[in-house]
Subunit: 116 residues, 2 copies
Amino acid sequence: MEKSDVVAALAALAQDNRLDVFRLLVQAGPDGMAAGSVASALGLAPNTLTFHFDRLRNAGLVTVRRDGRSMIYAARYDVMNGVLGFLTANCCQGAEAQGAAGCAPKVKRKRIKERA
Amino acid sequence: MEKSDVVAALAALAQDNRLDVFRLLVQAGPDGMAAGSVASALGLAPNTLTFHFDRLRNAGLVTVRRDGRSMIYAARYDVMNGVLGFLTANCCQGAEAQGAAGCAPKVKRKRIKERA
DNA sequence: GAATTATTTCAACGATCGTCGAAATGATGC
DNA sequence: GCATCATTTCGACGATCGTTGAAATAATTC
């Protein structure tokens, strides 16, 4: 998981409707959910939804497959997992060293030499 | 931690330079880092950096204080922790129910059973 | 109080965003 | 084939983004 992938995923999730869409897909499970079902569940116009699906898909957070006339979108848990892993590893280290509520739990961290 | 806060934080981190800035501040520890140090460390123009600091600060991810003529920016580990908590709670549930690699890493959290 | 250092404010720019209405495409059933 | 359902494509719109150069504001030193 590279930084650019993480930035892309964050950008994809950093929007109200898209975060809702992704949450819904996560809840729906690995079998996914038809575009129309998402549309009516969230009250979004179908074309607007296509726009958001594209963003999620380009970020790698979602997959599509066709089932009859429906398009089934499904969350990619592994990718989301990678994003979370990157964030805990790169944006939280140092937290536990300060006892600051521990962004990253009890992981051993490689000490960085700091010039005091 | 509400959804709107999470969206704001994600939007703040969903940009190359800002993610770098935040990572640097996380590494710098709770004492933070002068704006100028960040600027030279990342090769960013000071006014551009101010723009990004504002976004991070509005998202609640960063604090500022003045020290002499320098402005010291510091990461807010608790907020980042809250974001990660929201994501693992809201965007990964169902993952372990499907045995789908478990979105949440080794983070300590009110766990169910998993272990598969 | 003038010069210097550190940072912010301001105006501007092209680029991308999120949404809409209308039209096009794909798959199904008659 | 024709009608219908599900989704996508297209063109447009105002709004926000990220960056820049120039000027302004704070704090320090002399």
